[in-house]
Amino acid sequence: MRMVFWITGFFLLVCLSVFFLHISTNTEEFSRYNMQWNGTSQFFGSRAGMDATEIRQISDLAGRTGSFLLIIAPERPFDDRESREVHDFLTQGNVVFLADETGAGNTLLEGLDSEIRVFPANLTSMERQYGDPSSVLAHPSSPDPLNTGITSLVLNSPSYTKGGTPVFTTSLLTWADDNGNGRIDETEGLGRYTILSREYMGEGTLYVLSDPSVFINGMQDAGRENSVFLGRLAGHDGLDLLIEQDHSSTAKADLLVLAIIYMKSSKFMTTVLFILVGTGASLYAWKRYSEVS
């Protein structure tokens, strides 16, 4: 009987663990709480991600120096005040790395008075890592600390950028597949597209990458050189890594996950939770004792 009790307890524990694992994750694109292939939990769970400082509002950038700000897949535009604050941050000698493929980051680029723009497109290439034409390969274009020693970067349905200095570009056998049929048609021209652009602004540097998919879990094993590239972003010239969590899709979470995050981040709520659980357990134990006696 006792063995049955332990086995039942073990299975209950497993079920509870799976249940909590299930409710503490989601399937949102780029979400750091999404443990599936299209989430960014692995990047945020890496040492660099864990050590990074989260920027919950752009005004938190004020006064920071020697920092590298990562903005991954912004999902809403930046207003003028936010753009000004990022501009001030940049000109103080910091680095801003914007990874955007939808063009949502163009409001920031306009606000920064940058030459670079992101052009949403279904970029497709003959030079690719996988059978799917969207797994485009990009190659170093002009010397930059981010591309030194890297021969190719594997992308996943990238858009392209224009303006600035090209740091990574595709091969000439690349085209914007406007009709999405995966093959080149008469109206679609082959050409070299820029994937990562650089622009110096004041003392700072602005990078714009047209494919935030390099951060998703599914791409972590896409190529050794992708890991090298991500490692360089995380430890760029020994700068402090900041990760924007206000506009970025990586901060997306559903209500339950948000509640858990809030609970974890609030000491008051943690204390209340402990008191509630403790009281419940005590009441149950007392009831059992009185029943037996």
Partner: protein, 597 residues
């Protein structure tokens, strides 16, 4: 014993589940990574197959090589190394085939690479003809020396005429080669390919044309000045009309043989030094031939007539016009999974008959069909279910007709209506049914055996018959209620059989033994209180319901001991075993108003 049965059942069930899972493992239906591998923003690399990158990486170097090779062929021709030029041409042909297959494999027919491939094919054709023409001119040079030494004016005239045709032909090849330069250089610049070699080859080609022209001039000069014309009794004239024509039009060639016996004499007609036909003169020495323009390049062509291999007419020229074509395709009709396509090919001079029109499906040639006299064609194809792009294409470099393409239609071929397979058509269904039936039967048999066994443990005297009148009323014990000593619901005073059964079972399984006693006590009390479904009452419920009865104290003690043995791990000693009997007797006695003690 019961424990072994439970273990066996659990094992059997586990084995059955594992077996069922294994059955599904080959084609899991619950979840597969492929199901959600693509979103609007990216694809899951875990489900993508690695690409063969070699082909794409080979493409640009191959294009570069193909742009350089014509220059090599032309240099060798310029220096008179025809054999080496042939080898280079063969290499050029192989490289071109590699490009062809690469473009098809990469599905790039409609890109600038596809344009490059088409221009390269044209270059290959031009160079092939140039090599053959140059080789023939080399032969003519040798023959010229021999005929001149042999003072053979007829043969010398023949090779001079042939030389004229070849000069004409090479000149046209140069014009075509020149027209390729701008688009080819433009494409190569786009792909960052160095086209210097190709551009230089244009100049070298021009040198070859000039050299052939000079040789022909010299040949004509030799014929006219150094060789005495053979005195022949015959003269041959030739004229043609019209002087230009388009595809499938005819040019009338005619002339007269004069001098001597001219009736029924054979006249050979040569077009571009190749024999086109033989005709016979009439009684007046008149001959006539209708030349039909078919597989011949557009541009200027030469023609002359020869009688008896020694009497030549003058050389006359005519032009072949490149006719613009238009291709129509009616909206394809879908029926029973097939596609019926029809259309027509027309030039600016009317319907075009007798040429092949290709039907393209999703960029690949599906089939081709000859046009009829009205220029119409009709084909039926089965492209397979799904959406397709269909169009017609006419492209034939051998005839003087321009390339044309119809409009593109999107058609959807519905999937064939599947005949629903019967349930018993699949062995997996049958196996699942048999297994399901076995499991169900096993469960039923097991449940029945378990119940039988459970009931056999209860002594017969504990099985109370259900009253005939229906359900028992729910009654709460009342302390003032008199004890019913006799009646149909009151058990007989226990003999020794309960306690004998208890003692027997206690030796092997004390938990079962105390349960026998408890069942007895519960039946007693249930009978007393007329409880409904007494077997569903737990010891504590029985205890609670008897809280107003005098037996409550004994019953509480009995239940406490019973729970510690039945549900706990306690193994009672002899004294404690006896105390169960004592308490049961006391409870029975209380129920009978002290008679049992």
């Amino acid at each position: 014993m019961r424990r072994y049965i439970l273990w066996t059942l659990a094992l059997a069930l586990s084995a059955a589940i594992i077996f069922l899972v294994l059955l599904q493992s080959a084609s899991p239906l619950l979840y597969s990574a492929e199901y959600d591998a693509f979103t609007k923003r990216h694809a899951n690399p875990a489900v993508l197959k690695p690409a063969g990158q070699d082909s794409a990486e080979r493409l640009l170097p191959l294009m570069s090589d193909l742009l350089d090779t014509p220059g090599t062929v032309i240099i060798n021709l310029e220096y008179g190394d025809v054999d080496i030029a042939r080898q280079d041409l063969e290499e050029f042909r192989q490289l071109s085939q590699s490009l062809d297959s690469l473009v098809i494999n990469l599905d790039m027919s409609e890109s600038e690479v596809g344009d490059f491939r088409r221009m390269n094919q044209k270059n290959l054709l031009i160079l092939s003809e140039l090599v053959e023409s140059t080789a023939r001119l080399e032969e003519l040079n040798t023959l010229e020396i021999r005929f001149r030494d042999a003072r053979d004016p007829a043969s010398l005239t023949s090779i001079t005429y042939e030389g004229e045709s070849l000069r004409n032909q090479v000149s046209q090849l140069y014009t075509q080669y020149q027209s390729q330069e701008e688009p080819l250089v433009s494409v190569s610049e786009k792909f960052e390919i160095d086209s210097t070699g190709y551009e230089e080859s244009q100049d070298r080609f021009e040198q070859i044309v000039r050299k052939i022209g000079d040789e022909q001039e010299r040949r004509v000069f030799t014929l006219q000045t150094q060789i005495q014309p053979e005195i022949s009794p015959f003269q041959l004239t030739m004229s043609l009309a019209p002087e230009q024509g388009a595809f499938h039009e005819t040019i009338q060639m005619r002339g007269n043989l004069i001098g001597g016996e001219v009736a029924d004499r054979e006249i050979e007609i040569l077009v571009d030094t190749r024999k086109a036909a033989s005709v016979f003169t009439d009684e007046n020495g008149h001959w006539e031939y209708l030349f039909r323009i078919d597989a011949i390049d557009p541009g200027s062509h030469t023609s002359f007539a020869v009688f008896s291999g020694s009497t030549f007419s003058d050389i006359v020229s005519f032009d072949v016009i490149l006719a613009e074509t238009s291709l129509t395709l009616d909206e394809p009709r879908v029926y029973e999974g097939a596609l019926s396509c029809s259309g027509g090919l027309f030039s600016d001079r009317g319907p075009v008959d007798g040429v092949r029109v290709d039907l393209m499906v999703d960029g690949r040639r599906s089939t081709s069909q000859l046009t009829d006299e009205q220029g119409a064609f009709k084909v039926n194809i089965r492209p397979g279910p799904g959406e397709h792009k269909v169009w017609a294409l006419f492209s034939n470099p051998d005839v003087p007709l321009s390339e044309s393409q119809s409009r593109v239609y999107s058609v959807t071929i519905p999937p064939p209506r599947l005949q629903e397979p019967g349930f018993f058509d699949s062995w997996e269904n049958v196996l699942a049914l048999v297994l399901g039936a076995l499991v169900l039967a096993g469960t039923i048999i097991g449940a029945y055996a378990y119940l039988r066994r459970s009931r056999s443990h209860v002594p017969a005297f504990l099985r109370r018959p259900r009253p005939a009148g229906g359900d028992f009323p729910v009654i709460v014990a009342d302390p003032g209620m008199p004890i019913q000593e006799r009646g149909p619901d009151v058990p007989e005073p226990p003999g020794d059989d309960v306690f004998i059964a208890y003692s027997k079972a206690a030796d092997s399984n004390i938990r079962e033994a105390v349960h026998i006693l408890f069942s007895y006590v519960r039946a007693e009390i249930a009978g007393k209180l007329s409880l409904k479904n007494p077997r569903s009452c737990t010891p504590r419920e029985i205890c609670r319901k008897s809280s107003n009865l005098p037996l409550f104290t004994d019953l509480s003690a009995f239940v406490r001991q019973y729970e510690s043995v039945r549900y706990g791990v306690k193994i009672p000693d002899e004294k404690e075993r006896q105390s169960f009997i004592d308490l049961a007797r006391a409870i029975h006695g209380s129920l009978l108003g002290g008679r049992g003690e």
